[in-house]
């Protein structure tokens, strides 16, 4: 089924009566997503973008069997929205909202672990299994079904790379934007493990940026556990250290978290690293050909 979501996935939109919620609920449906419900406290009985609105997530789950939720509520209310979903038995939450306080996110993560609820985001574009399910804000028209899994820390760079893949005729199994915040749900390692298991995925593109050590951890994991070809693309080579570049995640300090360090770690694990989106395609083709030759003996 590609990974995590497909055409059978029953999707709920939290904050469906808001501007972004309503717009993207309609867009997700147009992209083939099985959107079954929306929630907005006090608005039960209405209909938005062709789906019924419920007061609570629990009601929506009982009446529609919703299993995946996408959160569009404002940052001050996102913590509560995610906890409500986890308590109602939602298995995967996709949180698009940006600027959620780190303290709230740490609390949400702690609670979700107890409930065995998965989280993608926050502050990310979500997850797409092309033509089958689009949960979040990724432009569906740049995606195309295929065999390359994509996992990314950056929203717009995901669009950029996926669009380049599609333009060259390379389709995607699933595309995940894990979000740029320092405290977030699924990471590179989780997603790589899913892609490694997924029979529909033949290769993976990993999109990273400066800050933290997610890329280094991913490199170590790939070396040990991933047999499928992986190509990485990094942003922030020209970023001066110590400056916060945009969102909470992207900051390189001293020698830690720089693009050069990450490139070194990835290459040491045998993963070719692109320094521009246009370099991803040739590196990926080469890696896939090499894997193909290896398979054929």
């Amino acid at each position: 089924m590609a990974i995590l979501v497909d055409e059978t996935t029953r999707v709920l939109v939290q904050g469906v009566t808001g501007r972004e919620g309503a717009f993207h609920a309609a867009r997700m449906r147009a992209a083939g997503t099985n959107v079954v419900a929306g929630t907005s406290p006090g608005r039960a009985g209405q209909e938005v973008a062709g789906v019924p609105v419920f007061d609570t997530v629990a009601d929506a789950v009982v009446h529609t069997g919703a299993e995946v939720s996408v959160v569009f509520v404002p940052s001050g209310f996102a913590r509560d929205a995610m906890i409500e979903s986890a308590d109602a038995g939602i298995r995967l939450i996709v949180c698009v909202t940006e600027d959620i306080p780190a303290r709230d996110m740490a609390e949400v993560i702690s609670h979700l672990e107890r409930r065995d609820t998965l989280l993608i985001g926050p502050n990310g574009p979500g997850i797409v299994t092309p033509r089958r399910c689009n949960v979040g804000i990724m432009p569906a028209e740049v995606c195309m079904p295929g065999a390359v899994g994509v996992v990314s820390r950056s929203g717009t760079l995901t669009y950029e790379v996926v669009s380049a893949l599609t333009d060259t005729g390379i389709g995607q199994s699933t595309v995940i934007g894990m979000g740029g915040d320092p405290v977030h749900g699924l990471g590179f390692v989780d997603c790589l493990a899913y892609y490694q298991q997924d029979p529909e995925t033949e290769a993976v593109v990993l999109i990273g940026e400066i800050g933290g050590n997610d890329e280094e951890t991913a490199a170590a994991f790939i070396k040990k556990k991933v047999t499928k070809p992986v190509v990485a693309f990094l942003a922030g080579f020209a970023a001066p250290p110590g400056k916060r570049m945009g969102h909470a995640g992207a900051i390189s300090e001293g020698g830690a978290g720089t693009a050069a360090d990450k490139k070194k770690a990835l290459e040491a694990a045998g993963i070719p690293v692109a320094k521009a989106p246009s370099e991803v395609i040739p590196l990926l083709k080469k890696s896939m050909e090499k894997a193909e030759k290896k398979r054929n003996g």
Partner: protein, 389 residues
């Protein structure tokens, strides 16, 4: 948002974390008056949002009022790591028997807060960690449970201070108060280095480094003013427009949507021999007014010889961006070439709007590589023209 030491210490004092008596001073005379009130000896400390001030000579112990005047005069004119000293903190000098280290910080790897304690402090904590890993106590804190008593006992054991002694009780109270303050202020870093023990067993926080989560400022209206303090006019304008803006030292203005996209554009500029004058991220879903303000902020740097606007619309609409650029041309004098690359949501509408407006100096590129080539050439061309004038 980083707080200055004296701002951090005000929070410490309110939260029951022991600090030495001190006063801030903006002139040498104020520093001398403060020292007179506090009583000698005092320590005069640079208030600046960067580390390494001790090594730079920004912290001086003074035994006489003449020393205080000389120290304040020197420190107030200092620039440490490119940051001008904002003021000095004049503080009672402490009698130190021992220096320790305490911090609580947001850890990406642990996806939550972590308590770090070392029985040795006052120096670079990373070098201690390398030399003697056992000297560090590192305990993830579950934010839903809070700091647990056993974790406090772990700290006391590592410090080698008996739990029931006066010093043990005060150290335990400090650790608990530090967690409380970290949590309540939405901090992402609270660091006390050194955390000192006096010969009488009194624990005192000699430094205070506090970083507050920018995303949580809506819960702390009293911090809002502090967040804008120390910003120059340009940074303030960017902040109020909701832009993520960092000034860099090149000559090509860069603006785009999404941090990763802007960083990658800057990388590609660098690879083509161009240098970015700034990092300017519109964020997601920017309206035309914001785009117009962004271009104005970018152009405030007189060294900018050309501008690159790179958009891949997801939640951002390219037609809004195009309208914003037109608006900016109406409001500001744009006398450098602007290269625009529009892709994604409403890209064709955006390109059409720009083509119809036929703005002087605006050129549309089909891809990022093409835009980069065009803007680097444009920056060089303009440079020649200007020299010719």
């Amino acid at each position: 948002m980083d707080l200055l030491e004296h701002q951090g210490k005000e929070l410490f004092a309110k939260a029951g974390l022991p600090v030495m008596a001190g006063e801030t001073a903006w002139t040498p005379t104020e520093a001398v008056d403060a020292a007179r009130r506090l009583g000698l000896p005092v320590v005069v400390k640079a208030q600046v949002k960067t580390g390494g001030r001790g090594k730079a000579g920004g912290v001086r112990r003074c035994a006489t009022l003449e020393d205080v005047e000389a120290a304040a005069t020197a420190i107030l004119t200092m620039t440490i790591k490119d940051k001008p000293v904002e003021c000095v903190l004049v503080e009672e000098a402490a009698d130190i028997a021992r220096e320790m280290y305490l911090s609580i910080l947001l850890s990406r790897a642990d996806r939550g807060p972590v308590l770090v304690f070392a029985r040795e402090g006052g120096v670079d904590i990373e070098s201690i960690a390398r030399r003697d890993p056992d000297a560090l106590v590192r305990r993830p804190i579950d934010p839903l449970l809070g700091l647990c008593d056993y974790q406090v006992r772990d700290v006391l054991a590592a410090a080698g201070v008996p739990r029931k002694s006066f010093a043990g009780r005060s150290l335990g109270a400090v650790v608990k108060a530090a967690w409380q303050l970290y949590y309540e202020t939405d901090a992402t870093l609270l660091e006390v280095n050194p955390l000192a023990l006096t010969p009488d067993g009194v624990v005192v926080c000699l430094d205070a480094k506090v970083t507050v989560d920018d995303s949580a400022l809506f819960r702390h209206p009293d911090f809002m003013a502090l967040a804008e303090g120390g910003l120059d006019e340009r940074e303030l304008k960017a902040r109020r427009a909701g832009l993520a803006f960092v000034a860099l030292d090149g000559d090509i203005g860069v603006l785009g949507n999404g941090a990763g996209m802007v960083m990658s554009t800057i990388d590609q500029l660098a690879a083509s021999g161009g240098r970015a004058a700034d990092f300017c991220d519109l964020g997601g879903g920017a309206r035309s007014e914001v785009v117009a303000q962004a271009l104005e902020v970018v152009l405030e740097d007189e060294g900018v010889k050309a501008v690159l606007v790179s958009i891949f619309g997801g939640i951002t609409r390219c037609d809004e961006v195009a309208r914003g650029l037109i608006q900016a041309f109406g409001q500001t004098q744009v006398d450098v070439p602007v290269v625009v690359r529009l892709d994604g949501t409403a890209a064709s509408a955006g390109r059409k709007i720009l083509a119809e407006a036929a703005l002087d100096g605006v050129r549309v590129a089909a891809s990022v590589p093409e835009a980069v080539t065009m803007v680097v050439a444009a920056a060089r061309g303009t440079a020649v023209d200007r020299e010719g004038v």
